[in-house]
Symmetry: C2
Subunit: 329 residues, 2 copies
């Protein structure tokens, strides 16, 4: 786990496609607000923690990005992701003392809301005779715990929620987050649980209006999204500890793909998972072997053990970093 | 508004593409449960209402359908739709005494939840000192009204919620709903507010596994979804009162497209709207002219006036139907 891995130079071709992506993307509407929030969050959390060392900050990305097919967007390609993994992981990172930037798809699963109903939360509540709001007896414990835990995290100032919908928004905000986390050096972590589109339609070549359905079958050509993980590792936040995910449907190619991602993007850990079993089973691939993690029963989260392992790896990474600094000085 | 409009014969080509769509679609997992719920709902609501006449039943479709691009679905095409229109309309149909089958996209906006927060409903609540759950003062009225109205609708047994995600689920459930509503004759109404995909990838020709991103740009060919509105009007529920929606981004073609839909699918009303203004402005196209409807201010719903007009048209339709029956006997 060489902290310097990220500092190589990007291939020219990638640099060109990255530049072209950002130059032609529709600009973020609220970038100055996001920038302001980020700065305040990093300032607050980069001061020493109670234990003496700096606070560790993790950016958890969560949910799927969309790819608009029309500029005035009616249709878009979406990536399957409930955001459950990111939401659960955020809760365990809090428990471990991390401050969390929760970069999430609008409307996806939120921390501490995982056990709440998806469609109609009204079913949880009823009106008392004095027209006070009461939680149905059967759900009372869950809802109370959710509200309590959530408010605790918010009050401690250790949760920053940033939403996205399209691939254009996601990558622009990710870049802002990564660059503001750069000063944290190895205390920063990226946990890329979001399902990010591999293909997109460049804004310039996109249909301006809704595609009409009267003219037979629809042919589409989608470009590859530039591999931003490389750019994050090499330019935006080269010292941060980086975890990416590899989701496949075919078990025969899973580990090979995870291994490739590990080497190609210089990740510290790649979490490999299959669509059919991702909720209860993952393989954590590192540069010195891989670890199988399963949830013990249907009531326990696989994320609990995953985050424990990652926090431990991050500690070792920081330790190694300190040794290198001392060795250099 | 000829009630008999729907009973023409379908063109052979359409019949073939409809059959092929349903034959190759992945079968519904819970079709017997849906069928049971539908039957119970129609039985309960087809008895006379308090006023003497049969209860009117409307099927409100709401939210967008998805088109999977892979059989083990990671990527899919989605249609923009929050489901706000369908949820708001459902509330006004209740007010007008209709029983509502709310055929909605999973996770989309629900009736009586429109003013509740999208992402984190936890912000609405706080724990009191006795660890009871309290609604923050600022939101108290809205939440109380939502819970009260919702429970009233549920208790009256006049709300049946049926969820869908893919175009395959949507069209299969819609067919079941339409066929079970057929016995209601002209007392049934269809209000097609859902954003239904125009294109799809037939299940058989779909990639089995996740499409790999390493092999350059992605070329896709999508087939047209058979025009099921015709089938609904002509075969599934020929006597029902039918409203469809036309959403466009280009104002220059909107009315022409709405008019075409009106004639092609024998709709009784087509609601034409533009993406940029659909929340506050619609044009209701009928066979004797069109009506512009706007919301009066930012606090009022355009759906209130829309539903008033539709209920009135539906009454006239029923009246005409009764005259024809008497005329025939």
């Amino acid at each position: 786990m060489d902290p310097g891995n990220g500092s190589d130079i990007l291939p020219e071709e990638l640099t060109a496609s990255v530049e072209s992506f950002f130059d032609t993307a529709p600009p973020l509407q609220d970038s100055s607000l996001i920038s302001h929030k980020l700065q305040a969050f990093i300032d607050r959390n980069s001061k020493s923690s109670e234990g003496g060392g700096p606070v560790r900050v993790v950016c958890v990305t969560s949910g799927g990005t969309t790819v608009p097919l029309e500029q005035r967007c009616v249709r878009y390609i979406d990536n399957f992701s409930s955001g459950h993994r990111g939401a659960a992981s955020t809760e365990y990172f809090f428990k471990a003392g991390y401050a969390v930037i929760f970069l999430h798809r609008r409307g996806s699963c939120q921390p501490y809301c995982r056990y709440l109903p998806e469609d109609s939360f009204l079913d949880f509540f009823e009106l008392g005779e004095d027209s006070s709001i009461q939680v149905c007896q059967s759900h009372s414990t869950i809802v109370k715990k959710a509200i309590g835990d959530y408010q605790n995290a918010v009050e401690r100032g250790q949760l920053l929620k940033l939403p996205f919908t399209t691939i254009f928004e996601y990558l622009q905000v990710l870049r802002m987050v990564a660059i503001s986390m750069r000063p944290l050096g190895p205390y920063g972590m990226f946990y890329h649980a979001a399902a990010v589109s591999d293909f997109y339609v460049p804004w310039e070549s996109m249909a301006k209006h809704k595609i009409q359905s009267s003219s037979g079958p629809l042919d589409m050509r989608l470009n590859q999204v530039p591999k931003m993980l490389s750019v994050l590792r090499k330019e935006w936040a080269p010292m941060a500890f980086c975890i990416s995910f590899k989701l496949e449907t075919d078990g025969n190619i899973l580990l090979q793909k995870a291994d490739m991602a590990m080497k190609k993007y210089h990740m510290h850990v790649v979490v490999a998972n299959l669509l059919a079993t991702y909720k209860r089973e993952v393989i954590m691939v590192t540069d010195n072997g891989s670890i199988n993690v399963c949830s013990q029963d249907e009531y326990s989260d696989v994320e609990e053990e995953m985050i424990k392992i990652l926090v431990d790896r991050h500690s070792k990474y920081l330790e190694q970093y300190r040794i290198e600094i001392i060795g250099l000085s």
